[in-house]
Symmetry: C2
Subunit: 251 residues, 2 copies
Amino acid sequence: MRQYTIPDNEEAKQEIKKALKKNEMITLYCNCSVHYKGRAESKLENGDRVILIKPDKTLLVHKPEGRNPINWMAERSSIKTSINGGILELTAENINPRESMKISINEVHMLSAKKMIDGIKPKIIGTEADMARMIYDKPTLISNDFIPASLEEQTKYGFIDVMGHNGKGSIIIIECKRYKADLNTIQQLRRYAERIKKSKGTNNIKGIIAAPKITKNAEIMAKDWGFEFIKIDPPKYLEIDKARQNTLNKY
Amino acid sequence: MRQYTIPDNEEAKQEIKKALKKNEMITLYCNCSVHYKGRAESKLENGDRVILIKPDKTLLVHKPEGRNPINWMAERSSIKTSINGGILELTAENINPRESMKISINEVHMLSAKKMIDGIKPKIIGTEADMARMIYDKPTLISNDFIPASLEEQTKYGFIDVMGHNGKGSIIIIECKRYKADLNTIQQLRRYAERIKKSKGTNNIKGIIAAPKITKNAEIMAKDWGFEFIKIDPPKYLEIDKARQNTLNKY
DNA sequence: GGGGAGAGATGCCGC
DNA sequence: GCGGCATTTCTCCCC
């Protein structure tokens, strides 16, 4: 762990070089301007920022507000340091997509660098895939005659969250949304329905939207296309655990 | 600017409290685990992380890789500190959407805090809106008879990038994409076209996709629906400046 | 605040 | 690599 408060730019440059070489996590508090050119072009005038350079050479420029970096470079960027007329310059380059960034630092308020280890991945529950699994495991959430057949089925035109039938010749396809179904959701379902109609040569297809909420316009469009909206919340921890247990108990 | 290397947890707690009160930008290098519950549920086991707490009370937990935080809380979160069995705990709460986070910190490797000022917003060029403006200013990019009428217009049919006609009774609607048009793009255009057909009672509508690239399937679907794909790149700095100058010169 | 759509979206998985 | 799509998406803008 190395820390420097208000180093002069030459000292900062040396420390950054060292830390980059060692693949350390680098944090800079500074006043800087940023130019980016690549997928678009952007110019950010002088202001106070926090710069994060990660061991994988992801570069983030953060303002004092907001969740997202105001500028960034994707991982594996090639980062160089130099001093030009007293200004500390960081340049970063990427190929594919071709992009470059120049950060002009007037003053470094603070610099820290440290080796970091973290191979841990988070467990997340309550995603759309979890919803689909819940419905697959408990089809009565949809209807008493729903018989699920496949989960997250890959078709050429996208994957269908849950697919099945009603035992009376109707194919049932379900699109899950973890928050709110919108126009896009209906279009998605419509695209699947059209593909199946075409490939199976049947009109006997029932489309279902499973979500906790739906926008007004999406509801109208769903009705227009004969789709049904069923209010279903994404699962919580315990329900998931129970469902998994049930699945395990079956075998 | 205050910096502390390997403070004990009690000292770290006091400093964090102070910095929170002063709305400073706080950075923590630490080993911690994270629990999140709200829009979903997640659990992240112990590892080395960088925690950023912004003056607007956005909280970010960053791993040594990747552009996005592995866990976060939206701005205005209410953050509290405590020590429990030697573990430094940060809890954050938000209402609307209801969410909470608990970070359990084993050891603080480094802590820094500083007041930051930055009201600057970036200028970005090369967005979809820039593309639409470019086409509006130079309609021959589309065809020799295209007469643009509206730009980025909120119609009751939706948000149509560029809309116009060909002087011979055909309505022309253009959907721009700054990178690659996909199935979604076609569906979007299709939705607009359908709504206009319905409300104007005409079939004389030409849909155009303007983008540098298009996916294979999107191209097939576009042909199915009689839409035309025109390869157009988003504008660069100089072209934009020229276009703006032209627009200015007109008035 | 809801609804709709873009973003320098990112990230994941399947082919 | 492309393609399709979810995301604790975020962010902006309009109604």
